[in-house]
């Protein structure tokens, strides 16, 4: 690829990324009432999307030799810590350190 072709390639990726982020705002601009289903979707999607993101993070681990066992153990640890202390930063840090311990020392 020439430099110009490389720039065009990056521009195509940028354009598509911006499009996926901006499209709902372009289709349903401020001041115009979105269709009922979209308003309804806007209320429930935040809950569904975070669950989808958790699965997205595990997408390759699930098919590994360990079948996401360390990930699931660390998620359980993170969840336990979070239910116990209710401190977001502590739960994320604790869960990550626990996961690092698992993949470095145990598995």
């Amino acid at each position: 690829m020439s430099t110009a072709q490389q720039i065009i390639t990056v521009a195509a990726v940028v354009a598509a990324t911006v499009l996926t982020r901006a499209l709902p705002f372009i289709i349903f601009p401020e001041g115009r009432k979105p269709p009922k289903f979209i308003s309804w979707l806007a209320g429930v999607l935040p809950f569904a999307v975070i669950g989808m993101l958790v699965v997205y993070c595990l997408r390759s681990a699930v098919f590994s030799d360990l079948h996401a066992l360390p990930e699931l153990m660390a998620i359980a640890f993170t969840a336990g810590l979070h239910l116990w202390r209710k401190n977001t930063l502590l739960s994320i840090a604790g869960g990550t350190v626990f996961y690092m311990f698992l993949v470095q020392q145990v598995f």
């Binding site: 999607l45 809950f47 699965v55």
Partner: protein, 232 residues
């Protein structure tokens, strides 16, 4: 900075700290990979700033090293980043009336900034727009800094970093629990988790997000219709 901005910045900063750790580390591995693939730091800077979608930036390296096909790159990116469409719909209300900042909030809406802006309880008296603006900006600064650092210095972390990327998974898991506690109806959360898990096994890790989104939209539509019928 004025008082409004300072207050918003101070409120936003702690929310972004887990992302700081994760993005510096992941950004560094990206910059390092760019360097070893033969790209100068200026490329790393512009790609991490302009694309600003982690998995797609890694993919773009291999796109740049194969034959020239911009249409394919465009369509591949649409598929990989399709999940952003959901973020946009979820944020239609929250980003409403944010003025010029809206352009940046949308441009910088990566998984992590979306998750924080969507779930964080902005403290009383703090300007919500500036809060979301700083969350987005700080996260992007972490990512670009990590990438440039990785490109310039290679992997500067001397301790064993294996598994550090779990910080993102932990973030989403904690946000999932926070949302769970705040809502009475757990069906949307279970649907997101369940539908994408089933689609992952059926369609495989490369393309499962798009079918998951379709399943989620269809089931939500049926749920809305059933609810309407019950009320009627």
């Amino acid at each position: 900075m004025t008082g409004t901005k300072t207050a918003a910045f101070k409120a936003a900063l702690p929310h972004t700290l887990p992302i700081c750790a994760g993005f510096l580390f992941l950004g560094m591995s990206y910059g390092f990979l760019m360097k070893s693939s033969g790209f100068a730091t200026v490329w790393t800077f512009f790609m991490s700033t302009l694309i600003f979608a982690g998995s797609m930036e890694f993919l773009t390296i291999s796109l740049l090293l194969s034959s020239f096909n911009p249409l394919y790159c465009f369509l591949l990116t649409l598929m990989v980043n399709a999940r952003h469409l959901f973020y946009g719909i979820a944020m239609l209300d929250k980003y409403r009336g944010t003025g010029w900042k809206k352009f940046y909030l949308i441009f910088g809406m990566c998984d992590e900034s979306f998750t924080i802006n969507c779930t964080a309880q902005v403290p009383e008296g703090v300007d919500r727009t500036w809060f979301m603006f700083f969350v987005t900006l700080l996260n992007q600064i972490y990512w670009v800094s990590g990438a440039v650092l990785g490109s310039l210095a290679g992997n500067v972390l001397t301790f064993n970093t294996e598994g550090l990327d779990f910080v993102m998974t932990a973030l989403f898991a904690v946000m999932f629990i926070n949302q769970w506690r705040e809502s009475k109806d757990h069906r949307p959360a279970l649907l997101g988790l369940g539908a994408s898990l089933i689609c992952l096994f059926i369609f495989g890790q490369d393309i499962f997000i798009v079918p998951s989104m379709a399943v989620i939209v269809i089931i939500f539509y049926v749920m809305m219709k059933l609810e309407e019928r019950r009320k009627a």
